[in-house]
Symmetry: C2
DNA sequence: TCCCCCATGTGATGCTTATCACGCCAGAAG
DNA sequence: CTTCTGGCGTGATAAGCATCACATGGGGGA
């Protein structure tokens, strides 16, 4: 196993609080597996807006989120962005798992939405564990199922909802993921994520404000009630 | 294992040709696993347009396609249809696998596009094999990865392509899946799949015909060249 | 202080697509 | 033959959204 050493990378046991967090987040694992995870897992920290992964990068490990939020999305040739899903503590990225398993590079980007802590599991162990621990196999499957469902949800919205509903959905997701009613993302960036344009978002925000769903502050949107 | 007996359901070895097909399609499996598949797998046949699976149905088995084409899609509350992907011989449905594994009902519909033959593996064995045979575990993972990629591809098209390009894409998929240059699907049904309307498809088809990509016959579209 | 940049607000305009309203034709059924 | 039905063609109209053009206003740096 190649160990990249920098100040953001630790052997798991170096952080006692994290060990406890892991035990809480991954209760479903057999004690033996949990112990192994703690022995070989590497904790890696990312600051807000840092990239965990970028297009074309080879993936050599599975990533489990311990703390924070990771936005997973794709970018096509023309720079269009496709939001896929956000990952929260206790969750893992499905794509990273198979790409890791098959040593493929991916077309995926992953970015920390807030300061984030993840647990990195080398690819060789992933496979080994899948054959050895039922709970790990189940976890991998469940990860797939959940991401798949989320992707389908995203698909539904893009296919059938108008921009105003999608904007509401976006706001709701931020509220849930970041556990905050204040969104500091610029309209330009929101437009990018929804594949729209700044002007349109501006107009729609105004409508939402008129309806009392949000309140617009300087460089910030406050979510009031998102009836849904 | 509960065995449903009808004329469309056979113990695997009853059909020697199918046994050979399976060996060809699933070369990656260890001989021992292949043998087991042939012992316990059930062959089930579906006629064109028959449903393999409908919304809300409990899934109790994994489905591997032996012959034909299976269209997998979702329908939302308002009757909107979301195309997900087509399954071809040697492929399996990812959704059915985890839903089976977790005994969940799904929101998925699956329909035979032509006369189709599938192999049904009871859910208990799926899990057992995953822990026992590396090749089966890899197959499950690869199935997920592939379906995931296809879903992303669909997402890209819906999000960024105009209807004319999506129609071309649709035609190309049919050509590939059904290995035929003739499409008998009515414009109304194509419109349903692309979440558009008959009139629009009609106009776009005319454009494609003018450009020489297709030729319109009575109740049938002939694909000429789909430059892409 | 002045200037510039960045985020935002807003009107005008045009493209893509949905929808409505018809008309046409062919094959099936009476 | 007549009627009915289902698939298709086509114009008119409008909604949703992108894009362009330009304005405003605040904060930071020279």
């Amino acid at each position: 196993m190649k160990v990249i050493v920098n100040k953001l990378l630790f052997r798991f046991p170096t952080n006692m609080a994290t060990t406890e967090t892991t035990q809480k987040l991954f209760q479903q694992f057999e004690p033996e597996l949990l112990k192994k995870i703690q022995q070989v897992g590497l904790v890696r920290k990312f600051k807000t807006d840092e990239y965990l992964m970028q297009t074309g990068q080879q993936i050599r490990s599975a990533v489990l989120v311990l703390d924070g939020v990771v936005k997973v999305f794709r970018e096509d040739d023309e720079g269009n962005e496709v939001f896929m899903y956000n990952l929260h503590p206790g969750e893992a990225c499905a794509i990273s798992m198979t790409c890791a398993a098959r040593q493929l590079s991916s077309q995926i980007m992953a970015k920390a939405l807030v300061d984030t802590e993840v647990l990195v599991i080398p690819v060789e162990l992933m496979d080994e564990w899948a054959l050895k621990y039922r709970s790990w196999y189940q976890f991998v499957l469940e990860t797939y199922r959940a991401r798949f469902e989320e992707l389908l949800d995203t698909l539904d919205h893009i296919a059938f909802r108008n921009l105003d509903e999608r904007l509401l959905w976006y706001l709701k997701q931020h509220q849930k993921s970041l556990k905050s009613n204040f969104i500091k993302t610029s309209f330009t960036d929101i437009a990018l994520e929804l594949n729209s344009s700044r002007e349109v978002i501006s107009r729609l925000m105004k409508k939402l404000a008129e309806k009392g769903h949000v309140k617009l502050h300087k460089n910030e949107v406050e979510i009031l009630h998102l009836k849904m």
